[in-house]
């Protein structure tokens, strides 16, 4: 059930991302709805489909984007891995884990993209990319992190109802 929900949710988020969110720029950075959603999903305790969501999101965004195919998939899987590790390490403070995962997840995805673009000879000044794109994007993703966490927390509770403790 949770895996099949990934199709409509991620497709809807990609439409929102390309039609709306990508227009809302801070310097040259933009929020990444799909990445934040993946992290918010992976950070939920009962969720077991984080990797499959990551693969699906990476493939879908990789198809839509002009970034070399597979690069976004790698970036998203690294972000999911980070979120899963943080879920296990910082299990008592999921919101803190969400914020840390969003910060470092965005950084990881952007580093992978910069590296890939430089490998295909796209002239991309590293520090300019970090200052003008990555740092503003991190800020925007952090703004989105808490509402997205709340949404996916509700979704996880709905999909995986916890038994009442007596």
């Amino acid at each position: 059930m949770a895996f099949f929900l990934a199709f409509p949710i991620l497709s809807g988020l990609i439409i929102l991302q390309t039609a709306l969110v990508s227009h809302m720029r801070l310097l040259q950075g933009a929020a990444d709805l799909i990445l934040v959603a993946l992290i918010a999903w992976a950070i939920q305790k009962p969720v077991r489909t984080a990797w499959s969501w990551g693969i699906l999101a990476g493939l879908l965004v990789g198809y839509v984007s002009a970034i070399p195919f597979g690069v976004i998939l790698v970036g998203y899987l690294l972000a999911v891995a980070l979120a899963v590790i943080l879920r296990q390490r910082v299990w008592q403070l999921p919101i803190l884990a969400m914020l840390i995962a969003t910060f470092f997840g965005t950084l990881l995805v952007h580093l992978v993209e910069i590296l890939a673009l430089r490998l295909v000879d796209t002239p991309l000044p590293f520090w300019e990319a970090i200052n003008l794109v990555t740092l503003p994007s991190i800020l925007l993703n952090l703004v989105l992190a808490l509402p997205m966490y709340a949404l996916f927390n509700d979704l996880a509770n709905w999909l995986y109802p916890q038994p009442l403790e007596m």
């Binding site: 439409i15 390309t18 227009h23 984007s65 002009a66 673009l117 000044p125 003008l132």
Partner: protein, 282 residues
């Protein structure tokens, strides 16, 4: 007998007085007297009428408030409907203006065949400058076709699906366009950047480049047709020690507000890559 003659005389005198008063009144001679006489009466009637109206308003007000509230709601609904209609009409007007400009552009370049498309999205990655349009191979689009607006060059089709296509903007860091400057006819290469700024490179040192020179496609390389307007030279950077001059370009197209674009469908880019020697080739 005497009594009846007295009454008839009295009646006659009264009639004469009344006729006399009417005549005086009609002649306007009684106006000061009537003013003095009627003023207190009018004041008293005004006072009474106002009190009456106030009491009547007070007694009938609940019914009026309900009626006014209902009317207010109706008018607010009407205002909302009209406002949304105005927004729709303004949007249609804006689209019509854009389309009209595009039609004018197409008429001015009859040698080209165009397909119009709406911009429906931007690339999810902020590192690249691509837009997604709602026309694809079903509409005759092919990879490499130039994309323009009435203002000038936008980019070229980079990837095509059946119903949509991805367009690489000339502001993309990986984009390069061979250009010609007018009126000097100097040639160079226009490159994009991460910030969306357009720069000119590879302009020979001996070329005279001035601020305000027009930047047009040269057609060299076979990627774009010649003579499509791109922008104006905004700033020239010439160092004696460098091999080439560089310059900043102010584009004529506002890339942040792209809505409708035209794809030149009868232009086929020329692939000149086989002409370049590859390492290891005989």
């Amino acid at each position: 007998m005497r009594s009846s003659s007295f009454f008839s005389l009295q009646s006659l005198v009264l009639a004469l007085i009344i006729i006399g008063l009417i005549a005086l009144a009609l002649g306007g001679y009684l106006a000061p007297a009537s003013r003095v006489l009627f003023k207190p009466l009018i004041s008293a009637q005004t006072w009474l009428a106002l009190r009456y109206q106030t009491i009547q308003n007070y007694l009938s007000s609940p019914q009026d408030v309900a009626r006014l509230r209902q009317r207010n709601q109706e008018l607010e609904a009407e205002v909302s409907r009209l406002q949304s209609e105005i927004i729709d009409l303004q949007q249609q007007l804006a689209e019509t203006r854009v389309l009209s400009a595009l039609v004018d552009f197409a008429r001015a370049h009859p040698e080209n065949r165009y397909v119009a498309a709406s911009v429906i999205g931007r690339d999810p990655s902020p590192f690249v400058k691509y837009v997604i349009i709602n026309r694809g191979s079903d509409d005759g689009l092919r990879r490499g076709m130039p994309v323009v607006t009435a203002q000038g060059l936008v980019g070229r089709v980079a990837a095509v699906t059946a119903g949509a296509a991805r367009v690489q903007l000339i502001t993309d860091p990986d984009s390069s366009v061979n250009i010609r400057l007018e009126p000097t006819a100097a040639e160079g290469i226009l490159v994009g950047s991460l910030t969306g700024k357009l720069s000119l490179d590879m302009i020979p040192q001996e070329a005279s480049v001035q601020t305000g020179n027009l930047v047009l496609t040269s057609g060299l390389g076979g990627n774009y047709p010649a003579n499509i307007l791109i922008g104006q030279v905004a700033n020239v950077d010439r160092e004696e020690t460098d091999l080439f001059q560089t310059a900043d370009v102010q584009p004529t197209v506002d890339f942040s507000r792209l809505e409708i674009v035209l794809i030149i469908v009868n232009f086929r880019p020329v692939d000149i890559s086989p002409l370049f020697p590859t390492p290891g080739a005989p």
